[in-house]
Symmetry: C2
Subunit: 438 residues, 2 copies
């Protein structure tokens, strides 16, 4: 899959030419699949690739969304084969983006191509949006959706950017967490200081930051930002029962990911913590001397990337304000501190009873030969909330990858079997949608 060879790392400006080349290749892929009308829409950031195939106005319209950008591949040293040299090994396709999200969206492109090459056209109208900024919070996508809301009109959206619960257990996701991603920078001195000359007398930015970071959660793992839990729903006993029935074991989960132990908010089982509870994580932290060997320095500055996952009706805007105030209130008086908000996306729920969700359930069962399950997802697909709010449509979240595919990590992969069944599921889904009744 040549698509995977493009290092389309959206967060790093050095990769701008790769992003552009990847957008161009995405256009070519869609033309090859049979779309006659493929446009590349420039944004202040990276381009969006858009195509439409109007078959018959009387038929339903499916709006497919995916993203061609990827997160950085570092740490590079841990990849067994280079991240942008797609490699097949043991029935798996390895590359950054193999699973998140090029591999999954590729299933739908190939399904359309299959219809084009056999019956000459898909069984429903298709609109497809493939953006290049999902991994940096889609800063320009919402404006694009608002500006082109008429052109994007559809009956249902289809997104494959969530995992299956387990191999051979196709999954439809009905709940996504929201995201608030921040960066904290604090400063305690004009410059780095010699730790011999001044050690013991001056503040240390790294100690100050560690202290701050430790104040975000209490010993029970509960987030201490005021108002943080406003709008967090408690699950019904029925919903908890359904989660317990899903294939998950703490011991297997821990061993599969090589975890030293499990951690998190006290009183909630693992899947509930991952999908239906809000959380706060430190995504990165640095300061002082971080090179090889030793340097006897006291850090003047230290930084941390801190993100929160949100559920229910938690409002990222309100929490961003409360978080910023909390940070300012919890550093030692005199310390200079600044909080940047990198991205925000509200949480979203999808109705299990939607006729198109039911159509997806039928399609997955036909492709995988086993009934699909409903599950939540701890990650964030911000576009789903935008589709609901701006276009007024629900989204089918058809997971085609696996939890241990290593997305955002070294040796990201997708199984060739899932790629094949994903294409079949997409073929069936489009056929089911054509005949879906309200």
């Amino acid at each position: 899959m040549t698509w995977l060879a493009f290092p389309s790392v959206s967060t790093n400006h050095a990769h701008k030419p790769d992003i552009d080349a990847c957008a161009e290749y995405t256009r070519a892929l869609l033309i090859d699949a049979g779309f006659s009308d493929v446009t590349r829409i420039e944004t202040p950031g990276h381009p969006i690739v858009y195509a439409a195939w109007q078959v018959d106005p009387a038929l339903p319209t499916v709006l497919i969304y995916g993203h061609y950008d990827v997160p950085p591949p570092d740490p590079l040293a841990l990849w067994e084969t280079p991240p942008f040299v797609p490699t097949i090994r043991d029935g798996q396709l390895f590359a950054r983006g193999a699973s998140d999200d090029k591999g999954q969206i590729y299933c739908h492109i190939r399904a359309i191509k299959a219809y084009a090459e056999t019956v000459g056209k898909p069984p429903v109208n298709i609109k497809i949006v493939i953006e290049g900024e999902e991994e940096i919070g889609s800063p320009n996508l919402q404006l694009f959706i608002i500006a082109t809301r008429e052109r994007l009109k559809a009956d249902i959206a289809l997104v494959s950017d969530t995992p299956m619960i387990a191999p051979d257990r196709p999954s439809l996701c009905t709940s996504l967490r929201g995201l608030l991603y921040t960066e904290i920078k604090l400063r305690v001195a004009a410059t780095d200081l010699h730790s011999g000359q001044h050690g013991g007398a001056v503040p240390n930015a790294l100690l100050e930051l560690s202290r701050l970071v430790m104040s975000f959660k209490n010993a029970q793992g509960e987030v201490q930002i005021p108002g943080f839990y406003d709008g967090v729903p408690l699950l019904s006993e029925q919903a908890r029962e359904a989660i317990r029935a899903l294939p998950h074991e703490d011991a297997a989960y821990q061993s599969e990911l090589g975890l030293s132990h499990l951690e998190g908010e006290a009183g909630y089982p693992t899947l509930e913590r991952r999908w239906y509870r809000p959380t706060l994580e430190i995504n990165g932290m640095w300061g002082g001397y971080t090179g090889p060997g030793s340097k006897t320095v006291i850090a003047a500055e230290a930084s941390a990337k801190v993100s929160m996952r949100l559920v229910g009706t938690q409002d990222p805007t309100v929490i961003a304000q409360n978080f910023t105030a909390f940070v300012h209130a919890h550093v030692t008086p005199g310390v200079h501190v600044h909080v940047d908000i990198h991205s925000m996306a509200p949480p979203v729920q999808v109705a299990q009873e939607d006729r198109f969700v039911r159509a997806a359930s039928v399609a997955l069962e036909k492709a995988f030969g086993v009934a699909s399950v409903f599950q939540g997802e701890g990650g964030t697909v911000p576009v789903v909330a935008d589709f609901k709010r701006i276009l007024g449509i629900n989204t089918v979240l058809m997971g085609l990858n696996l939890p241990n595919d290593g997305i955002h990590a070294p040796n990201e992969r997708i199984s060739l079997a899932n790629l094949e069944r994903g294409m079949q599921a997409s073929v069936h889904f489009l056929a089911e949608v054509a005949t879906a009744t309200t």
Copy 2:
């Protein structure tokens, strides 16, 4: 001073050719000063430059020590002029190494050259050792001193690698803190994990490291490593009185260094905390995503560089063991953790009554026109303990730079006035030693 143009960064292997070129230039400097016998001694690390000038066996011998290596100049962005382009501005010479230690040792080289060019030879026998690994803990110096102890025989050592207490207040340092420099690396998962998919359920290496780092000291700033304070002497009331008499004000100190506040062990004044109390500092810390923008990752690994300054008879070997055990005992069970020891040096005290220390006091007064003071120093000059233990000689610690010269920090500098007076002080000191009586 061309010497300062060499980026002789000892901790970074990429600078090996620069180190070699700098050693060669150091040889040339000594030959230019009049030494006929200058050798470059290879070590498993960076070379030592050694020279001797035997004037008369009846005269005392001064062993001068300095180092031509420097710590890394980062963060580069904060330098007003490039660190390895020596630049004069406002009566200051700016460059990495201007103050620590090339500038200071240069004063002694110039003093010898002055004698050579006027009376043809110095007034005492001179031996000089200029090494290239001081900033990485002098891993090969001790073996060199042991192996060449006969050749290095001298009556007194002279080291200028400590600061004056204030401008126009020449200082002799009579106490140096020791150093124990460690690096901690911990791991909580096999790979970095997606913070959406797994956030709330898995351990976070950065949170684990922050928790560990916060456990090293209590709220009073007291180090919690068992046995840490064994061998820490309490100052006499007389010594405390002498410190109080030194020119120091907390408010001026805080404002000069741009500090947000002062911090440290409760119950001890600032100069006592800097010179005569042991301490523990975080010198660097990193993990997770530290690049531009956002990446929704939970760090599998995190690292910290942690160093301790030691006083009295604190034993770095014992503390290294206790520290390592403390780290292992204070991570969450299951977390993989490893502690590396980068360097160790014991603390050292120098007798104020030594006849050569008195000679230095006279020399400083002649050069600066004002009486010198005795002070402690928070930093570490490991060679001083080695000279005492292996060669059986004391060391005169003649500080020629200023506390705000920015050593180990951006915009390191030395005042041209101090360079000039440092040369004069060295000229006077050698003359005083020639006539010093027991």
